[in-house]
């Protein structure tokens, strides 16, 4: 599954969506959306009205009825397109779900059963070439697994029993070796099943804000229904018998059909966008909550820093040239396969142009790091068994012992350099050659490029970032300052993480975190938004409410943006929809009164051609605006990380003020067109 966003109007989606728009006219489905249900009832009434009005006006009422039906159909179409895009995603997910045979272990002998009869707790065997039949945990063995089916990432990943990389997903393929898996999900309750149901819209539940908005829209609809129903008696008194089709037209124009018609499409499209970023969300509620998050707990390693300490500088001791220090440092690290060791070789090459030398030519033997010596290095054997030169690097205390044992002196300036580096949050490694102390290598956690800017954006959005690390407070503080996080937790244990989350929540914050290990599970479950890494354990994946298939912890920031975008789109279109009413009043009300009180002509400020053309124009505008806004509903209103006030001002200007002005122009244009076409 490659999550390329389908182009907005892909014929494969639009075609079936047109059919679905009609199928959705089923009143039992329509009633879930009060705004559009009222519109549909109005359309039906107007259709009846075609046959009950005088022949001269039939053409007009028929046109009204057609456009009212279009209004309903356009709204259904918007929902169908959103669902269609979800279904396209689901179909590619489902392809991964080919019916497989499972090799179930029963009393330690194998039997072949269809995958769908597997139950929680069953053990199954998978060998190279097998498709893993269900979600589960590896309980025995190690294997490389191709997870391209769900992540789109072609490089295989390692899955092994125990530890934090034991979870496997149904539908992925074992490439090598043999593993035994304990099934953790019944058929139909697995990961993919949940996600497929969600993106298809079938099991989509309304999110809390969507429910609140639906209530607002339903109440507005009811109020406007009351307005139009009471207008009839007011009209009777005034001697202006408003007929039903015109009152229906007024009603449909006043109730918030624009947002009512697009509301569910916005929600479905939001889930779809989450999936496009390779994140499986367990519910729409989780995505919406992501928009509210104001505290992010981020693991230092992998999220903020590249993951390993790297050598960043050589500090020679007094009287030693930098080249000599670099050469010895390189020599001591040539056979050191740790990331730190390799980074020293790389730094020596980059800064001093020193090429890696061959250990055999030098007749050097590698002295690995041990817990006792706390040093590593090389012994050079120029000729004979006795080492002629011993080069060591290690913690300052260990190297001091080494130098002093050889009869040398550990120079004071080196001690101060070591202290300085520690204060900066770096790790000092001292290099010595026999009794000579050569200098210090500075190792440092390297902060990922661009992460600081990302955190600055988050701050503008009102989100506080907290770095979590097992480092000591000094190191943690230095990295925190460099990365630009707002706060950090040093020497953090899983219990402390959980405590911190509870503390933030008690203060009213909404907390999001990422995690992968089993020991993260309680914190993931406690957090309002818990994003588990796909590489993580099954426990972590079940505790969180989202899974990132790419296992990229910075993804959390994208999810927050999608959550916000979903709400912004709803809010903006609601404002637009309500603001539109002003122009529609000026179109319809004078038109309704003209027959009885011709004196109100000055109220027709748009100078619409005739009462019938005015009413028809307003209704047509009301229908077309839904179609015009479908792309916006599916794409979402652009979100730029900036302060809430700035966003509010921007959207208020575009959708509030724009919502006042646009319909005046639109209705006037439509009036000109239908007048030219002699439609009214």
């Amino acid at each position: 599954m490659t999550q390329k966003p389908a182009s907005l109007f892909d014929w494969n989606i639009v075609g079936p969506a047109i059919g679905d728009a009609f199928k959705k006219l089923n009143p039992r489905l329509m009633v879930k959306n009060p705004v559009m249900f009222v519109t549909m009832v109005g359309a039906a009434l107007t259709t009846v009205g075609i046959f009950t009005t005088e022949p001269a006006l039939r053409g007009f009422v028929a046109q009204l009825a057609i456009w009212l039906w279009f209004t309903v159909l356009f709204a259904n179409f918007a929902e169908a397109v959103a669902e269609g895009r979800g279904k396209a995603q689901a179909a590619s997910l489902r392809r991964a779900r080919k019916e497989t045979m499972a090799r179930r272990l029963r009393n330690s002998h194998e039997e072949r059963v269809p995958a769908q009869i597997l139950q929680k707790g069953n053990l199954v065997v998978c060998e190279a070439g097998d498709i893993i039949p269900a979600d589960g945990d590896v309980v025995e063995g190690i294997a490389s697994v191709d997870e391209a089916a769900i992540t789109g990432e072609s490089a295989p990943v390692i899955r092994e029993s125990g530890g934090d990389r034991s979870a496997v997903t149904g539908g992925t393929r074992v490439l090598s070796d043999r593993i035994v898996i304990r099934v953790t999900a019944d058929k139909g309750a697995g990961f993919l099943d949940k996600m497929i149901a969600l993106v298809e819209g079938a099991r989509r539940q309304k999110t809390p804000n969507e429910i609140a908005l639906t209530i607002l829209l339903a109440a507005l609809t009811f109020i406007f229904l009351l307005v139009c129903v009471t207008l009839k008696p007011f009209g009777i008194y005034s001697g202006a018998a408003f007929w039903i089709p015109v009152l229906v037209a007024l009603l449909v124009c006043l109730i918030p059909t624009t947002i009512g018609g697009l509301l569910s499409a916005i929600g479905i499209a939001g889930m779809d966008r989450v999936l496009q970023r390779n994140v499986l969300a367990m519910s729409g509620r989780a995505v919406e909550a992501a928009g509210d998050v104001d505290v992010l707990l981020l693991d230092k390693t992998g999220t903020i820093t590249l993951g390993n300490r790297m050598a960043v500088a050589f500090h020679p001791a007094p009287g030693i040239s930098p080249d000599d220090l670099a050469a010895s440092a390189q020599l001591s690290s040539l056979a050191d396969e740790t990331p730190e060791g390799r980074s020293i070789v790389v730094l020596a090459k980059e800064k001093f142009g020193l090429r890696a030398r061959d250990m055999h030519e030098l007749e050097a033997t590698f002295v690995p790091f041990t817990a006792q010596t706390r040093m590593s290095g090389v012994d050079l054997h120029a000729n004979g068994a006795q080492p002629t030169m011993r080069v060591r690097k290690g913690a300052a205390e260990a190297v001091r012992g080494f130098v002093e044992l050889a009869g040398g002196i550990f120079p004071q300036p080196v001690t101060s350099t070591v202290d300085e580096i520690s204060h900066r949050g770096g790790t000092p490694l001292v290099v010595a050659s026999d009794m000579m102390t050569l200098g210090t290598i500075e190792l440092k956690d390297v902060v990922k490029g661009g992460i600081k800017e990302r955190f600055a954006q988050l701050r503008k959005m009102g989100i506080k970032t907290v770095m979590i690390t097992g480092d000591n407070p000094l190191t943690a503080a230095a990295i925190a300052a460099e990365a630009g996080v707002d706060d950090f937790m040093a020497e953090a244990t899983p219990e402390q993480k959980l405590k911190r989350i509870r503390h933030e929540q008690a203060e009213g914050h909404l907390v999001a975190m990422t995690g992968d290990g089993t020991n993260d599970a309680p914190a993931l479950a406690q957090a309002d938004v818990g994003v588990a890494m796909n590489t993580g354990t099954q426990a972590a994946r079940e505790a969180g409410n989202m899974v990132d298939l790419d296992s990229n912890p910075t993804k959390l920031i994208d999810i927050v943006e999608i959550g916000k975008q979903m709400l912004i789109t709803r809010g903006s279109l609601t404002t637009f929809s309500i603001a539109n009413d002003v122009a529609k009043y000026f179109a319809i009300i004078p038109a309704m009164l003209m027959a009885r009180f011709s004196e109100v002509a000055p109220l027709n400020i748009m100078h619409l051609h005739s009462p019938t053309s005015a009413i028809l124009s307003a209704v047509i505008f009301n229908a077309l605006i839904i179609v015009a806004l479908i792309p916006l509903a599916l794409r979402g209103v652009a979100y730029k990380p900036m302060g809430a006030l700035a966003i509010l001002q921007r959207n208020l200007l575009i959708y509030g003020f724009g919502g006042l002005v646009v319909p005046f122009i639109g209705i006037k244009l439509i009036d000109l067109i239908i007048t030219a076409l002699h439609m009214a």
Partner: protein, 599 residues
């Protein structure tokens, strides 16, 4: 729109701005059971004694249901009490004119009217009610209905200010403290001031004066019981009488008027209300009365800001109210100054505009200002006949009331009314910034939106439902004295005034009929108590919520952007509902007047 008008308007605004903070600070003390005021030495013992007699434990707070129940129970008992007094006034003391029992339907209407702080008067005070009925049956409500409104507003503000709590105060404590510390002392001072301006305050029987020029009038023929005799067509039979004497009203007027203004009650002692020379003797009394209508409502916005520890929010809400107020004054003043083109054409118009139905002492500007103030604040006292305003001039009071009496508003009612709009504005705007909407750190969720919308729905149903049924029913049309759009305005005005608990009238409607007494009575009860219940439910929900600390991601509920947002919400969500009906009333009438037609 002459210079003196502008100067007076500026003076009025400055005075209003100046009293807001002291009033708010004083309210904060009054509405805190442990608050301190300089009246404590006198009133503390009285307050404690009252609590002891009533069995109130002042340290015991109520949750929203208990609070609402106490308020409803108290109002019901008060309503029945007043009904009984009106029905039995003949047997009760202080009835020098020997007025008989008030009709059942009129007594219901009047009891409902005064319980709901509306003071819609389908009776004429000086010819129907005894001093006892006025002072005990009605003035009692003038105090406690005002105190009830303030208590409800205080409970809602507490619910916003507190968090993770259950209780919102004690209704009885609020009621007693507001009455003792706020309403009674200010009224005492205010009444003395009014007497100093020439307002009467006595228990004398009415003075009889002989007319220098006898006049002939048509009056309804009455039988021995004092009931109107109806002819075969169902209409009252009238007879001609020659009037040679005039009854000049006397009585305890200043004390009644002080609370009528301060408590936004509005029920006049005399039928002419604040246009009567005794009830509004001088320009200064006129100015002070208008200011006193706004005093508590304005102070409550400061109280809001202080309680939620965001004074700018309080001032932003105040500014929104004042902007809407100014819009109304200017439109009304302009319309009245422009006058009636038909009169002008005939050469019978006053030089400075439409003077029909206006007291010459107050003139155009002070009539327009008074009309706007009294309808903004759900007071309902009048110093001119709104019915005689030009169509657009009359549109302003009607529109003010239809917004839900939130422009400063009735004491307490204005604040809780606009807070409903604040909640809705925050909800819509909150979505627009991409977070679950928060009001001062509290999430606005489905339940809160439901309750806020429910209160708007009830207002719309009360106004439009009753008005629409009146306008096509025989009983409704029977009360109408004018035709055409003006008649529609009169009916719409009556039910708007009732539901908004305003009480002023477009006088062309004969409201004292069983049908109008009943429907208007219900309209007032719906507009008051059915509105309060969802608002208290909202308070109950808000008080339980946790407060999320503000960050760059939360938009401020103060400043220009929020002001525009709040005004937009009030106008688009609150007012659009009534526009079609208004179009058929004052707006059509305006265009017809321009075309030379009058009604």
């Amino acid at each position: 729109m002459e210079t003196f008008g502008w100067i007076q308007l500026a003076l009025f605004l400055i005075a209003l701005a100046l009293i807001t903070k002291p009033m708010g600070l004083y309210l904060a003390q009054v509405l805190d059971p442990n608050g301190r005021t300089w009246l404590d030495p006198v009133l503390r013992p009285l307050e404690r004694g009252t609590f002891r007699v009533m069995g109130i434990r002042p340290d015991e707070e109520h949750n929203w249901k208990q609070y609402t129940f106490a308020m409803l129970l108290f109002s019901l008992v008060g309503c029945v009490f007043t009904y009984a007094i009106l029905r039995f006034q003949y047997f009760l003391p202080f009835n020098p004119q020997k007025f008989g029992a008030v009709n059942p339907d009129l007594a219901f209407n009047t009891a409902a009217s005064f319980t709901t702080n509306t003071n819609w008067q389908n009776y004429s005070g000086e010819s129907t009610l005894s001093y006892f009925s006025q002072m005990v049956g009605l003035a009692f409500h003038n105090f406690v209905s005002a105190a009830t409104g303030i208590a409800i507003a205080a409970a809602l503000v507490r619910a916003i200010a507190r968090h993770s709590a259950k209780t919102i105060g004690n209704f009885w404590v609020d009621l007693v403290r507001v009455t003792y510390y706020l309403l009674v002392p200010i009224c005492l001072v205010f009444a003395v001031f009014l007497v100093s301006q020439g307002m009467i305050q006595n228990f004398k029987p009415y003075t009889k004066a002989t007319l220098t020029e006898p006049m002939k009038v048509e009056v309804e023929k009455k039988n021995a019981k004092g009931e109107a005799i109806k002819g075969p067509d169902g209409k009252a039979v009238t007879e001609q009488q020659t009037v040679t004497e005039q009854n000049i009203v006397q009585g305890p007027m200043a004390s009644q008027v002080a609370i009528k203004m301060l408590g936004t009650n509005g029920g006049g002692y005399a039928n002419a209300n604040a246009a009567h020379p005794f009830e509004n003797p001088t320009p200064l009394s006129n100015f002070a009365q208008m200011l006193s209508i706004f005093a508590i409502g304005s102070g409550l916005t400061y109280y809001l800001g202080r309680m939620v520890k965001n004074q700018k929010h309080g001032w932003t809400v105040w500014t929104a109210m004042v902007v809407l107020f100014l819009g109304g004054v200017l439109l009304c003043w302009w319309a009245e100054s422009s006058g009636n083109p038909i009169h002008q054409h005939l050469g019978i118009a006053a030089a400075d505009g439409n003077m029909e139905g206006k007291e010459v002492r107050f003139g155009i500007f002070n009539s327009a200002l008074f009309a706007t103030v009294t309808t903004d604040a759900s007071c309902g006292a009048v110093n001119s006949a709104h019915d005689s305003f030009t169509p657009l001039g009359g549109f302003v009071p009607l529109f003010n009331m239809q917004l839900g009496e939130i422009i400063i508003g009735g004491v307490g009612a204005g604040l809780y009314g606009i807070l409903v709009f604040v909640v809705l504005a925050v909800f819509i705007a909150g979505l627009m910034v991409g977070r679950t909407p928060e009001y001062l750190g509290k999430k606005i969720e489905a339940y809160d939106v439901k309750m806020a919308m429910l209160s708007l729905l009830i207002l719309a149903i009360s106004i439009l439902g009753f008005a629409a049924s009146a306008i096509v029913s025989k009983w409704g049309l029977d009360g109408l004295n004018n035709k055409g759009p003006h008649g529609l305005s009169e009916i719409l005005y009556a039910f708007t005034s009732g539901a908004g608990n305003n009480g002023s009238a477009f006088a062309g409607l004969t409201g004292n009929t069983p049908w109008y007494n009943t429907t208007l009575g219900l309209d007032m009860l719906f507009g008051r108590f059915l509105m309060i219940v969802p608002i208290m439910a909202l308070a109950g929900s808000l008080v339980q919520k946790k407060v999320a600390p503000a960050s760059a991601g939360t938009f401020p509920v103060h400043g220009g952007t929020f002001l525009i947002l709040l005004l937009g919400t009030v106008l688009l969500v609150g007012a659009l509902n009534f526009l079609p009906a208004l179009t058929l009333g004052p707006i059509v009438e305006h265009f017809l007047m321009q075309g030379g037609k009058l009604f």
